[in-house]
Subunit: 376 residues, 2 copies
């Protein structure tokens, strides 16, 4: 009999897989969640078990807006929030609502590889556009907008997955102006927004949207727990209305009312804030330890230390294909994500993505010690 | 300032709306859920907060299979279960996976009206087929199968919403044979399967499926709490595999891992079984009270007392349009669902659906007392 599988990924004890972009299980705050659950599950609160309002529980949206306002230092209105069952579900729903098979969308090169699978499910024509240290390159996007009329541009404007970069304030303004001029939507995947360690990023893109074309996607997966399947979309209320009439929501009500209520208690009790500050301290140390080990042990890798998020995006010498090195990594009981997986153009072969989120610092350093063997 | 809205439906205190097909808030077991949450949220169990396996947590599927095996008195294998975020989400996903715009599907006339909205989102061509006291009429379906090649037949084979009827064992066999002969899928919405009060229905359709064409949809919304957004699909493992490769699941993992774990504890602690038995006793009394009141006060309504589920399907005299009577009902501070809402053919005007689930017996009797004024 094989062991019963509970989690999506399971890594053998003796492997240190540096490609896993998931939180460290030891950081999942089961104790705080127990407090929150017992806080909200009381007889005065039976409504949290009923079909929920399509847009999301009003109490939860109010708490969440207050929490985000504090963290962003920019006012967020509860009426600008729509509660989702996580960003993957939100992306799927956005495709269902706003695209038809054969539509073109523009994504960054590189981009989050599992989002590309979702877009492929909807048979979208995916066009890549390059990024640099300041995020999406506006001029390159403009060139593509002369040739294509995208349904939306999918961007990861903050602590990019995999590249770690953040879109500059000037480019943000420019991007929003372009969306108005060329009439496309912006789907901003901002799940790492609150995981800032050494520099505060600009606030979410939807904050500066005056024309109702921006969907800013947030999530509790990275700041609390992925197993909750809870996130939000921040957008103009007129845009949010288009989600609420979907048959699936009309029939089943709000997407995750009970979990919303538990997380509402996490926020109300101050536990979410406490946990987020803890994560920032832990991950800040992990980045530093891993970066230092990489510089010391793998000087042939080029990378910039990111200011937040989960990832280090590393460049190998031009003539090296990271996929070829995976087998070597595996013999040393380690692993990474080859760059090509993040490419919509079968490129980026000499890149690889490492994550510092899944393991504690000693394991990260040990992992790098193993990984150095991929290239000498 | 208006009151903050939490639930999908909110009825003014002085109204008794007999059209609401949702559980009574007083029956939502917030105390049992608190026990279950504190049982599963412990430091040995951090995995329940991680990204979950796409098919659903193996422990939960094992418990659920055991629970269903006991309740159905037919063996259910955990590998035949795929965990969903409720039946509405499941229906949406089924449409996304197995249909293309313009495809034909066959639904019962009447059918669950909010499912019809989901099908409309996918631009499906909806063909109705009649039912009688034994459910879907096979001969009528056969006629339609000569003219149409449906992607699937959507049936509510047990304690039908709205009609209350259950598909007979003989017709079940016949329907499955037809699905093999004409190569269509059967989407069986069985959310009321376990709410049997006075007669045990045949086991779920997927139980007798040897050819991998049946999807049996179950849910915790009616036997525990809708706010959980948790359900399951029972099907052949080969059919389940087609769900697991969807980009949305690949990216976000299993659909509701944390809630699965709380409900796993509900089952393990015997609380789910206890609650289900309680519900059966409560609803059995409510059906009887409401039926008796209707026979006494509204003898012009024809209906059969159902053996399970949530609904009484009532026929008015032929020349009466239930929609015309809604305004009268509202002046008497009551309400119902007009039959036409359940029709894909703009028919069934002289029917109305009442539910005995949302109110206690005294309110139900009081509601009928108000409702009698719609027709004299």
């Amino acid at each position: 009999m094989s062991e019963i599988q509970i989690t999506q990924v399971s890594v053998p004890e003796d492997v240190i897989h540096l490609g896993i972009g998931q939180p460290d299980e030891n950081l999942l705050p089961v104790d705080k969640m127990a407090l929150a659950a017992s806080h909200c599950l009381n007889p005065k609160n039976r409504k949290i078990l009923q079909y929920g309002r399509q847009q999301g529980d009003g109490n939860f949206r109010t708490s969440l807006a207050r929490f985000l306002t504090h963290e962003y230092d920019v006012t967020v209105n509860p009426e600008h929030l729509f509660i989702t069952a996580g960003t993957s579900q939100a992306l799927d729903l956005i495709c269902a609502l706003f695209t038809r098979p054969g539509d073109t969308i523009i994504v960054e090169e590189p981009s989050y590889f599992l989002a590309l699978h979702i877009f492929a499910d909807y048979q979208l024509n995916i066009i890549g556009t390059p990024i640099d240290h300041d995020g999406l390159i506006i001029e390159a996007l403009e060139e593509r907008l002369e040739k294509y009329k995208p349904a939306f541009v999918y961007t990861i404007p903050v602590f990019h997955n995999p590249a770690g970069v953040t879109l500059s304030a000037a480019r943000r303004e420019h991007l929003i102006r372009l969306s108005q001029k060329h009439d496309f939507m912006i789907v901003a995947d901002e799940v790492y927004q609150l995981l800032a360690y050494t520099r505060t990023p600009p606030p979410p893109l939807a904050t500066n949207d005056s024309s109702g074309r921006v969907l800013s996607l947030g999530s509790f997966s990275k700041i609390l727990a992925p197993g909750l399947r809870l996130g939000w979309i921040q957008a103009d209320p007129a845009l949010i209305k288009r989600f609420l009439i979907r048959g699936y929501l009309n029939s089943g009500g709000g997407l995750n009312p009970f979990v919303s209520s538990v997380v509402n208690s996490m926020i109300e009790l101050g536990l979410q804030k406490e946990h987020l500050h803890h994560l920032r301290n832990v991950y800040r140390e992990r980045i530093q330890a891993m970066s230092q080990a990489l510089r010391l042990k793998m000087p042939f890798l080029k990378f910039s230390e990111p200011h937040g998020g989960y990832f280090l995006w590393c460049q190998l010498p031009d003539d090296v294909d990271a996929e070829d090195l995976l087998a070597i990594a595996e013999t040393h009981k380690t692993g990474f994500q080859p760059g090509v997986r993040f490419s919509s153009e079968n490129a980026l072969h000499n890149y690889l993505r490492l994550s510092f989120a899944y393991y504690a610092t000693d394991k990260l350093v040990q992992g790098v010690e193993r990984l150095r063997h991929i290239y000498q």
